[in-house]
């Protein structure tokens, strides 16, 4: 049986071209970018080249705005904690959309122990931040607002440019977690009005272990990791050269190929949505149009997501779910609850994310397997509604 991987939102296979490009930095170029000898110089040059590639990727003012971290989680932590703590004389409220990633929500929750207040920005049933609420909830006291570019569970893309205007009108900084979006949507921090931006290497088909925080010139941060003063003193620790060099190259390749890849995958994704929605009592989650081009997410009444996942796995297809039973805490996904689903509705969720390995011939197989899975699990279920 051929296996079909449709969980690209969780992990992406590293692009072989990226591995080839970055490989010398694992085995041959052993210099520490902070060392002054020639090996160190080669490492430093590679690091700066990667920085320039990332700056171009998001149309940043210059490469000095790019800070490398160990991944998106650290970039979110630095962006949020670093900005809030350094600027707390200007305001002590931090606003976040209700469907942010846990690595955004938890640092903000933690800040409430240090005198900050957390403001949750509601979303509508498609997952879009409610603009009318934004003008009331973001106030003069809001030092930072964090809204993701797109959501990895329901695929919804936020109108960042419009939101940014409202947020800036109230004098708040805007942090955008672009982890789920960056591979699919051309990001332009200047056009979009973004003050801080998070990127993850692996979501760009780069190696795990690198991430980026973009910081607009003029914004002051407090470091959260202290030590040797790397990355302008904002992120101490020897740089993970292999992952960073790989991330730069991955971003360059994505920038070149994004448009084409998007148009290759979107029709396949559209077929998936159209066909899966012919299943009785099946629903799309997230926005029907403003969604990531590789992303299809559903819920089915009367069945549970972990058993959907197991059943699909046996059919050779790897998917993801936001069901309570599949989470460590046995809580349903906060994203599905925030878009207004009831507990039992959030139970039957299935998320499919396409990627480079996806081919058109896989699509009928996925549709077949989904129908079979839903039928079989419904036959076992006491819930008929």
């Amino acid at each position: 049986m051929t296996r079909i991987y449709l969980d690209h939102a969780a992990a992406v296979p590293v692009d072989p071209r990226v591995i080839e490009f970055a490989q010398p930095f694992l085995s041959q170029i052993i210099g520490n970018p902070s060392s002054l000898h020639s090996a160190g110089l080669a490492a430093r040059q590679a690091l700066e080249e990667a920085r320039q590639k990332i700056a171009r990727f998001i149309n940043a003012e210059d490469e000095h705005t790019i800070l490398f971290t160990s991944g998106a989680t650290e970039a979110n932590n630095l962006g949020i904690r670093g900005t809030a703590l350094r600027n707390k004389t200007k305001g002590t409220a931090v606003a976040v959309s209700a469907i942010e990633h846990i690595s955004v929500l938890n640092p903000v929750k933690d800040l409430t122990k240090q005198g900050f207040t957390m403001v949750s920005l509601p979303v509508d049933s498609t997952g879009c931040v409610k603009q009318e609420d934004l003008s009331n909830l973001v106030t003069k006291d809001t030092i930072l607002t964090s809204i993701q570019y797109a959501n990895n569970e329901i695929g919804t893309i936020q109108p960042i440019r419009e939101l940014s205007k409202i947020i800036h009108d109230h004098g708040s900084y805007l942090h955008v977690d672009a982890t789920a979006a960056a591979a699919w949507i051309p990001i332009d921090v200047r056009r979009d009005g973004i003050d801080l931006l998070t990127l993850s290497s692996n979501d760009l088909a780069g190696p795990q272990g690198a991430g980026v925080l973009y910081v607009k010139p003029g914004i002051k941060l407090q470091p959260i990791i202290l030590g040797g003063g790397q990355e302008k003193g904002l992120r101490s620790g020897t740089e993970n050269l292999f992952a960073i060099v790989g991330m730069g190259e991955a971003a360059r390749l994505i920038q070149q190929e994004q448009h084409q890849e998007r148009h290759r995958l979107q029709p396949m994704r559209d077929t998936l949505i159209k066909e899966i929605l012919t299943i009785d009592r099946s629903f799309l989650t997230g926005h029907p149009q403003h969604r990531l081009p590789h992303h299809a997410s559903f819920r089915f009444s009367g069945i549970e997501g972990e058993s959907i996942l197991l059943n699909m796995d046996i059919e050779g297809i790897q998917i993801s779910t936001g069901s309570a039973c599949s989470s460590k805490t046995l809580e349903p996904s906060h994203v599905l609850l925030a878009i207004g689903l009831k507990h039992e509705e959030a139970h039957g969720s299935m998320v499919l994310t396409l990627g480079r390995s996806t081919t058109p011939d896989q699509i009928p197989q996925v549709i077949q397997a989904t129908k079979k899975t839903v039928d079989r699990l419904r036959a076992l279920s006491p819930l008929t509604m």
Binding site: L309, K328, H347
Partner: protein, 128 residues
């Protein structure tokens, strides 16, 4: 969004569950919900001479909930009511070669549903 590590036996009972369905006019019926994650399980029994002669289940829940309900029906079938009432969640989990720790509560659900069906039968007998 994590895949749980299930034993072969759990996966077998998940993919080929025994005794699925409903019994029309059952002698006993039990339905329980899982307060932890919100799943539902129901069990129907037929009783003859104090012995469970037929048993069926339906479950809305995770892989472990489906497998444990299948296993509990298999264990209970042919047993006397007293024997069946003594079945615990540990018996169910052991027969399945164990469950991941965070999934033990699902086996509770299966034993509870069985016990609820038996109690329901016993109550009906008293009323007769």
């Amino acid at each position: 969004m994590t895949q749980v590590g299930y034993s072969k036996k759990v996966m077998d009972h998940f993919m080929n569950p025994r005794n699925v369905g409903v019994i029309e006019n059952p002698d006993g019926y039990g339905k329980v919900g899982n307060p932890v994650c919100g799943d539902v399980m129901e069990i129907f029994i037929k009783v003859h001479n104090n012995i469970i002669t037929d048993i069926k289940f339906r479950t809305f829940g995770c892989g472990s909930a489906i497998a444990t309900s299948s296993m509990v029906t298999e264990l209970a079938k042919g047993k006397t009511l007293d024997e069946a009432l003594r079945l615990t969640r540990k018996d169910v989990a052991d027969e399945l070669d164990g469950l991941p720790p965070q999934k033990m509560h699902c086996s509770n659900l299966a034993a509870d549903a069985l016990h609820a069906a038996i109690k329901n039968y016993q109550q009906k007998q008293k009323l007769k």
